[in-house]
Amino acid sequence: MRNKLFVLMSLLVMASMLLTACGQQPATQAAPTAAASTAASESAAEPTKAPEAAAPVSAVEFKNPDTITYITGAGEPETLDPAWTYETAGSTTELNIYEGLTFFKREKTDEFIPALATDWKTSDDGLTWTFNIRKGVKFHEGGTLEPHDVAYTAQRAFLQGRIDGWQWIVYEAFYGPDMAMAGIKDFAAAFSAPAGAKEPPKFETLKPEQLVKVCEDVKTKIVADDDAGTVTYHFKQPVPWMLALTSQQFLGGILDKEWMAENGDWDGDCKTWTKYADPSAENTILFKKANGTGPYKLDHWTPGEEIVLTANENYWRTEPMWEGGPSGVASIKRVVIKNVDEWGTRLSMLQAGDADEIYTPPQYRKELEPFAKQTCGTDESSCKDDKADGFLTYFRKLPMPAITPGQFNWQMNVEGGNPYIGSGKLDGNGIPANFFSDIHIRKAFSACFDYDAMVKDALAGEGVQAQGPIPQGMMGYLKDQAPLNKFDTATCEAEFKKADLDGDGKAAGEDDDDIWSKGFYMQIAYNTGNDTRRMAAEILKAGIESVNPKFTVAVLAMPWPVLLESRRQGKLPIYVGGWVEDYHDPHNWVNPFLYSQGAYGRIVNMTADYKKKYDDIIISGAKANGVEARTPIYESIQKMAQEDAVDIWMYQQMEGFPFQSWIKGFYFNPAYGNPEYGWIYSLSKVAPK
C-alpha cells in the first residue's frame, strides 16, 4: 500500500515535470505583449527547425529571430562611460552605442571611412587636425550633433582622467610623453608645477585659479567652431595614429553636451571640472545609462544578468558603409549579452540554440570542431564546408593583436627581501638581482623555451611564436622572417656558458665560481587559475632544468593580489603577461613593452644604456611622419628587441569564434576592442529554411 503511494507520487512528480517541459516558450514570436504571448503559448507552435534534408541530425533549434545573444565568460563591464572604460567588455558594448569621427573600413585597421565627421585635413607639420562635423545626426535621446558636442566629449574625457585610466594616451598626444601621467590629478599637478621645480605640487594644494587654468589650456587644444561646423585638435608632436583614436573611444565616443549637463554631468564650465575628476566607476551618469549616436541604443544593463541593446530606429546612415556594407537601421533588432562563467553551461546554451556565439577559451576550441558546418578564416569569403551535420560557422586562427612575452626583470628589487631569487647570490641557491642584465642569460632563457610546446599545450595550437613586441600584421613586423630566438638547448647551453655574472672577465663555461658550475635557484610565479601562465612557467622550467642539473626553477601559484603586489614591487624575476593593444599602431606595442616608463617596460627595468637606446628610438618612431618614414624605424626596433632578448617573446595568440550558422556578415577586425562580437551593425540573423 505504501509502495503504491510511493510509485504514484513519483509518477506525479515526473508528470508535472513533463507538463512544464511541454509548455515550452511560444514559438518564434517574441513580441512582448501579453496577448501575443498567451496566444502563442496556447497554440504551442513548434519552432522552425534546421532543414531536414541537408541536416538530419543535431539540428539546432532556431530561436529569437530578431535577437542576437552573446554569451561571454570573461566578465562584465565596469561601467559604460567611454571616458572611464579601459577594458574590453565595456568598450565592446560602447562600440555599438557611441560613434567617433571616423571608423575602420570593414576589416582594415589602417583605412578609415567617415563617421560623425564627413572629411578632415591635417596641417603639413602634422600637429593640427581639422574635422568637418556631419550635420543632421541625432542622439538616441533626441539631441542634435554639433561640433561643440565633439569638443566637449574630448575635453570631458581629458579632464575626467581617472587614475589608471586610458587618458595617458591623450595626455601624451596633446602634451608630450613627459605629461603622460596616470590620471588628471597628476597631470594637473605636473602642469601647474613652476618651472624648474624638482617635484610637482600635490593636487590637493592647487588653488582654484590654477585648476581653472588647466581646463582652459585643454580647451585651447580642442576647439569647436559651430558656425564653421568644424573641430580642431592641436598636438604637441605628430600623432600618426590619430585616425585610430578618432575611430575608438579615445577621441570618439561622442556625447551630447546638453543632455549630459541636464542629467547632472559636467556642463563644460572650467570652474567646476574638478567635481567630475577621477570618479569611481559608478559615479558618472553614464555608468548604466547611455546616449550616443550609434546603431544601437542601450535598453538596460542589469549587472550580473544581462546587457540589452536595441536597434536605433533613427540611425543617421543612409549610404552603405562600404561596398556591400550595411546602412539604415540595424538588421538585428536586439542584442543580448550575458555572462556565464561555466564553459559547460555556455556550450549547452550554444547547442540548445539559446546562444548565437559563446566565448571559447583556447583549450575548448577543439570541442566545437565536430559542430562546425563551415570553418572560416578572417571572414566569410574564406569559409570551407566542414561537417555536414554541424551547426556552426567557426572562424579560426584569427591573429589577435595580443602578444604574451615572458618579461625579464633586469634589475630586481631586493629591499625587504625577495623570496623569488632564493639566496640572492651566485651560490647555487639563488640568483643575483642583476641576473637578467646579462644578455647571455637572457638569450639562454630565450633558447630554452619550447615555443611550439607552448602553442600546442597552452593554446591548443591556437597561436604562433611571437617574433618580437610587434604582432603579425602590423607595421614594423619583419615579414616572412622567422623569429630570431628558437628553441634549441644547444644554443641555450652555449649562452649560459658565455655569461659572466660574477664580472671577473671569465666566461661561466670556464669559471668555477660562475653560473654554469654553481648552478642557480629561482621561482616563477603565476596567478592561481591562470593555466596559460602556469604552462609557460612549466615549459620554461623544463627547458632550463634540462641543460644543467644544477639549475632549479620552482613554479608557484599565488593569488592575483599577491602577484600584482610582487610585480609592483619589482621583485618578480620573470612575469608572463600579455598585452592587448589600446589602438592599432606599433607605437602602442613598443611603448608598453620597451619604453622605460611603459606599462611593462617600467618593470622590465632595463639597464640605463638600454633604456636610453630604446627610449630614443621609440620617440623617434612616434615623431616620424608617414608610413614610409616610420616603417623602417619600427622594423629596426623589432630586430633589436629580438637580438637583445629584452623579453622572451613567447607567443601571439589566435582566436576562434563560433557563431551559429544563421549569423551572417562577420569579419575579423583586430582593431575592434573585442573583435569577437564583430561590428554588430553589419551582422544579420537569417532563419534556416
Binding site: I163, W560, E565, R602
Partner: protein, 357 residues
C-alpha cells in the same frame, strides 16, 4: 505564553550586538590584507602607469588605520564637495558593491529573490521526497525497499554537485532542450521587465502567478527544474537519513505498542503516533537546511547561471571586495540568527514538552 514572548524579545535584543561582533571579527580578518592586496579589486589588469596603485589606495583610504576604516564603514564619510555625510552602516547604507555594481543592499535585493525562489522550490522535493522516503524507509526497515533507498541516499550524498549539475544540464538541456539554465527565457524576461508586469517579490514564479501569467509561471518553473533537482538531491539524501533514523527511533518507542494495543491500524499508528514525534527533529533540521540555502549555493548558481547570493559572495570574496563581503556576511548572519530564532520557536510549538516549561 509570556515566557515565550520574553524569550523572543531577549533573542531579538541580542541580535544587533551579535551582528556588530561578527562585523568586527570579519573586518579584523580582512584587514590582515595589505592595502596593495585590497586595491587589486580596482585593478583588474596590470596598471599602465606609475603611481596608479598608490593613487587608488589613497583614493579609497585603504592605508588608513584599521579602526578608522571600520568607523568609516560604520558611520559614513563626509563628502568634501557637499559637506553631507554619506553612507555608513549605522545610517542603513551598507556601501557600494564593486562586484555587484550597485549598493550592497540593492544587489542583495536583486539576488536574494533568486536564491529564495530556489530555496522555496527546493523545499518541495526535499520535504516531499526526502521526508516521505525517510518514513517509508524506516517503516520498511531492512526490507528491500529500505536497502534501495539507503543506497540512493548514499549515492546522492557522494556525487559532487558540479558533476551532477553538468550532467543533467547537458542531458536535459543541451540534448533534449527541456529545462534551460538561467531564470527566464528571453521573451519572458522582456515581459517581466516591461511596465505591464508588477514585480511583487522579484521571484519570477510567484510574481507570475500574482500577475496571472501562467505562461511566465511555466517558463520560470522550467528554468527552476534542473537547479532545484540538483540542490534537492543533495539535501533530500541527508533529510532522508535524518528522517529515517528519527523514525526508526520513534518506532521503537513503547507508546507505539500502546497504540497498537488500542487496536489502531498500522497506518494510523504511523501517522498519528509515530510521525508527530519523529518529525520534530526533522522539521528543525529541514528548516535549518532551508535557511542555509538562503545563504546561496555557489556551484549550483554558477552551473545554472542563476545570479544568486552564493555567486555574489564567492565573486566578492575572490576579488577581495571587502565592502561586499562584509555586507553579505552581515546579511547572512542576520538570516541565520533570525532563522534559528524561528526554528527555536517552532520547536516550542511542535513539542509540548518544551513549550510548557
Amino acid at each position: 505564553m509570556s515566557s515565550m514572548l520574553s524569550f523572543i524579545i531577549r533573542r531579538l535584543l541580542i541580535l544587533p550586538l551579535l551582528l556588530i561582533a561578527v562585523t568586527i571579527l570579519i573586518f579584523s580578518m580582512l584587514s590582515m590584507l595589505t592595502p596593495y592586496e585590497r586595491v587589486s579589486l580596482y585593478v583588474k589588469d596590470i596598471p599602465k602607469r606609475q603611481g596608479a596603485m598608490e593613487g587608488l589606495i589613497k583614493k579609497y583610504g585603504l592605508d588608513d588605520p584599521v579602526p578608522v576604516q571600520y568607523w568609516r564603514w560604520m558611520a559614513g564619510t563626509k563628502n568634501p564637495d557637499t559637506g553631507e555625510i554619506e553612507g555608513g552602516v549605522l545610517r542603513g547604507n551598507l556601501g557600494w558593491s564593486k562586484t555587484g555594481k550597485g549598493t550592497v543592499w540593492e544587489v542583495i535585493g536583486r539576488r536574494l529573490p533568486a536564491t529564495a525562489e530556489l530555496a522555496l522550490w527546493t523545499a518541495i522535493p526535499m520535504i516531499g521526497i526526502g521526508i516521505y522516503l525517510g518514513v517509508v524507509s524506516a517503516v520498511n526497515h531492512n526490507k528491500l525497499l529500505d536497502q534501495i533507498l539507503r543506497v540512493f541516499s548514499i549515492v546522492g550524498w557522494s556525487i559532487p554537485v558540479f558533476v551532477f549539475g553538468l550532467i543533467v544540464l547537458l542531458f536535459f538541456y543541451a540534448k533534449l532542450g527541456w529545462f534551460p539554465p538561467g531564470r527566464l527565457s528571453d521573451w519572458a524576461s522582456q515581459v517581466v521587465q516591461s511596465s505591464q508586469f508588477i514585480r511583487y517579490t522579484n521571484m519570477n514564479s510567484i510574481d507570475a502567478l500574482l500577475n496571472g501569467r501562467l505562461d511566465i509561471f511555466r517558463d520560470a518553473v522550467r528554468h527552476l527544474v534542473l537547479p532545484v533537482i540538483t540542490l534537492a538531491y543533495l539535501d533530500w539524501a541527508y533529510l532522508l537519513r535524518v528522517t529515517r533514523s528519527s523514525m526508526l527511533d520513534t518506532l521503537n518507542q513503547d507508546y507505539m505498542t500502546t497504540a497498537r494495543a488500542k487496536g489502531l491500524s498500522e497506518n494510523k499508528v504511523i501517522r498519528r503516533h509515530a510521525l508527530p514525534n519523529a518529525l520534530i527533529p526533522v522539521v528543525t533540521v529541514g528548516a535549518l537546511m532551508l535557511i542555509g540555502l538562503l545563504n546561496g549555493v555557489v556551484i549550483t548558481e554558477t552551473i545554472f547561471n542563476i545570479p544568486g547570493m552564493g555567486s555574489f559572495l564567492a565573486e566578492s570574496a575572490i576579488s577581495l571586495d571587502v565592502i561586499s563581503v562584509l555586507g553579505i556576511t552581515m546579511f547572512n548572519c542576520l538570516i541565520l540568527l533570525v532563522g534559528n530564532l524561528i526554528v527555536d520557536i517552532l520547536y516550542g510549538v511542535i513539542d509540548p514538552r518544551i513549550r510548557l516549561r
